[in-house]
């Protein structure tokens, strides 16, 4: 027995969710939030009941991408998540002022990440997409343990060699915790110029990484100013044609792979 009502509550909420997709990178600044929101938005677009949880406790940003306005209401089933583009979304950003620092301490991060999930009224979901924070700290460990029975992970990297070494740490942690890895996405891989792909950072280090760890390479995404423009105009990353086109293939691969998991 955990002895903690919050853990039991989290377990109960998890019973109503078919599968959890963790999106992590190990390193910040690789565009992980763009990717996690795009995965969740794609699932919702395909008709799946989808939730999105931002566990980046020190630097939440998904609410900005989704432009979510929290209702600040609760019922006996928990806090009402924000509804955006057919998604149920929850973030720590809803509970603090926009410019407030979030100096959450180690063990508190683990329980806060769990509470954020457990206190939300997710209802029945096909998929819960979880945006993990950079690094492999307390809240990441807490989430991996909590969702272990139903989770799989998507790892995000960039062509940068600096990114690769940190991503390797996350891959090894996921393997150690026995979380199946759906695959690796390389973000900011290239720019498109006159219908040509230009790989600014040379050959793909992520492909080498996926071969080394026997992980499926889900695809490479462009460094696309259209994504920022789309968000600034009030849309989502998937409103950028170039990004959406590449992302559709990636989502297809994720769905295909996840369908083989025993908990679905």
């Amino acid at each position: 027995m955990s002895g903690s009502p919050s853990i039991e509550l989290a377990k109960e909420k998890l019973q109503h969710i078919k599968a959890v997709v963790l999106v992590g990178s190990g390193k910040g600044g690789v565009g992980k939030s763009i990717i996690s929101s795009s995965i969740a938005l794609s699932f919702a677009k395909m008709g799946f009941k989808t939730g999105l949880l931002d566990v980046d406790l020190h630097g939440p940003s998904l609410h900005k991408i989704l432009k979510c306005k929290f209702s600040a209401e609760s019922s006996v089933r928990g806090l009402k998540p924000c509804n955006a583009y057919g998604l149920k979304f929850m973030s720590i950003a809803f509970f603090v002022d926009e410019d407030s620092p979030l100096p959450i301490r180690g063990d508190a991060k683990a329980s806060l990440a769990r509470d954020l999930f457990a206190q939300t009224d997710w209802g029945e979901l096909d998929y819960l997409v979880v945006d993990l924070p950079p690094g492999t700290g307390d809240e990441v460990l807490s989430i991996l343990t909590l969702f272990e029975s139903k989770s799989s992970a998507v790892v995000v990297s960039t062509p940068s060699r600096l990114s690769i070494s940190v991503v390797e740490r996350l891959i090894n942690l996921l393997k150690r915790e026995r979380i199946p890895i759906l695959g690796l996405i390389e973000n900011m891989s290239y720019i498109r110029y006159n219908d040509k792909k230009i790989h600014l950072f040379g050959s793909s280090s992520s492909r080498i990484l996926s071969e080394k760890y026997d992980i499926e390479f889900l695809g490479e995404l462009p460094l696309d100013p259209g994504v920022e423009d789309a968000i600034a105009r009030g849309g989502t990353p998937l409103d950028s044609k170039l990004f959406a086109m590449e992302f559709e293939r990636i989502t297809g691969r994720i769905i295909k792979k996840i369908a083989n998991f025993p908990y679905l």
């Binding site: 002895g3 009502p5 609760s74 019922s75 329980s111």
Partner: protein
Amino acid sequence: MHEWSLAEGIYRAALEFAEAQNVKEILEIEVGVGELMQLDLDIMKEAFHMLAKGSIMEGANIIFKIEKAEFKCEKCGYTWDFETAKEQIARNFSKDRLIKNEEGALDLPLHYMPDLIYALATCPKCGSSNFLVTQGREVKIRKIVVKK
């Protein structure tokens, strides 16, 4: 209301314990309640007894022991209590972020997520965010009395 979901959590945790230990009846449950969560214990008690109806813990005595919250600044060493922290939060917290429950009452988000205190409070003496909640943060089952 948050008290109902926590009561359900207590019920589930006790049931899991009873199943694992092959317990026939639960007579008493003692729960430590951190002051930070500002829970209405009468509602918790009522919710628990309703959930427990027809189960092996129907009629069990549920005892809540309030644990006072204490804070200590890691920078200047100052210590303070929850009343002081609450006054500070009330002064600085945007009212539109208070959570409205089904009955229209407004709660601080701490009620749902006590660890948010680290984002909402600072040391009343030196203003630092580098403080510890030394006790009174969580809800935890402390003791279960059973009949085997």
